[in-house]
């Protein structure tokens, strides 16, 4: 190996692609967990957390979409994301989504971006009560054909919580 990194090469690249990160790899260490295993309790805890998060995310997106009066197809179209991702999301199916998809959905649905990232599992939550809030939202909101005032109120309170978390 020569590894000739010259000052000229560096300065030539200094200001290019300023806001772009150079990263590669899996979203989660699934391959390594399959090879080297994971602690059983860790697995069980994580499974519960995942279910709570995904259910909260599903209802959040479902309710906002229905408030807007859109079908899933219309949402997928407006957000320029795969319809399959929207369907899986609203069904609470654990599909791994790109940050780009979350970003686009949060933009179109006007929902806090980092809150959605945490619910989807793309980022790690810092606070223990994050899951608890998600569970409370799930428990108090209901799925009906039309959104009720109560549903909207509960929904708006939870969105406010997520927005406050984002601001911290």
């Amino acid at each position: 190996m020569k590894m000739k990194v010259t000052k000229e090469w560096l300065l030539k690249n200094a200001n290019r692609d300023q806001d772009l990160e150079v990263t590669a790899g899996f979203l989660v260490d699934e391959k390594l967990d399959a090879v080297y295993g994971r602690n059983k309790k860790e697995q069980e805890d994580q499974k519960e957390d995942i279910e709570s998060r995904l259910t909260a995310l599903a209802q959040l997106i479902n309710i906002r979409r229905r408030i807007q009066g859109w079908t899933m197809e219309q949402l997928a179209d407006k957000a320029d994301v795969d319809l399959q991702d929207v369907v899986c999301l609203e069904k609470g199916i654990p599909v791994h989504l790109s940050v780009r998809t979350i970003h686009k959905l949060s933009g179109v649905l006007d929902l806090p971006h980092s809150g959605l990232l945490r619910l989807s599992g793309a980022t790690v939550q810092r606070k223990d009560d994050f899951i608890e809030h998600a569970l409370r939202f799930v428990a108090r909101s209901q799925k009906e054909t039309k959104t009720t005032r109560q549903e909207i109120k509960v929904f708006e309170e939870y969105v406010k919580f997520l927005a406050e978390e984002q601001g911290k």
């Binding site: 590894m3 010259t6 690249n13 692609d17 590669a24």
Partner: protein, 194 residues
């Protein structure tokens, strides 16, 4: 045993050149120290990157079990690891024109969180990722693969790989729909020129 090469990176705030070391086969204790530093930084600063919970010490085990295939490389500057990369040597090319040939596959690549705009408004160093990628290309040349590399990009880096001239082979359904990129020998040559 680790090999060291002198390289340069840039201080992000000033574009001043900083002397660094590229370490090939970085030692376990250095990776553990880096992992602790990354984790501490993330827990203090939160941030959005999808790779915030990567476990580099677990990845290190691959370099022990499959010692001829996996290599861990790092960039060290100012006494700290500034970026890490895990490569797998000898995977098959997917670009049709390169069928039957081999490449160096970049399994994981990431700069330290304090060097990333996703986790801090004031990154410390830049071009760490690019220098590591350069190392992957050179290792590929050393193995006789003429600079061919391949990788699955995280979403925030897709534009960067396109900009450096890599071939985009689209979303890979076998890899969580991450986009797969490859570099041909000609693209590698252009990349090295800068």
């Amino acid at each position: 045993m680790s090999d060291r090469y002198e390289v340069l990176i840039l201080e992000a705030a000033t574009n001043d050149v900083a002397k660094a070391s590229l370490i090939v086969d970085i030692a376990r204790d250095a990776i553990e120290a880096a992992q602790r530093a990354f984790t501490e930084f993330h827990s203090k600063n939160g941030g959005s990157p999808e790779h915030a919970h990567w476990d580099w010490t677990k990845k290190f085990q691959l370099t022990v079990d499959y010692e001829l295939t996996y290599k861990m490389l790092g960039i060290e500057c100012g006494g700290q690891v500034q970026g890490l990369m895990l490569i797998a040597v000898g995977k098959d090319c997917k670009i049709p024109s390169q069928k039957g040939k081999n490449l160096v596959y970049v399994d994981y690549l990431s700069a330290a969180p304090w060097n990333s705009k996703a986790t801090t408004a004031t990154p410390k160093y830049k071009l760490v990722g690019k220098v590591l990628l350069q190392a992957a290309v050179e290792l590929s040349e050393d193995e006789g693969f003429r600079g061919r590399i391949g990788l699955h990009s995280l979403p925030q880096s897709e534009t960067w790989y396109t900009n450096i001239g890599m071939t985009d082979l689209g979303k890979d359904t076998a890899y969580l729909n991450l986009k797969y990129f490859e570099m041909t020998p000609e693209q590698a040559s252009a990349f090295q020129k800068g």
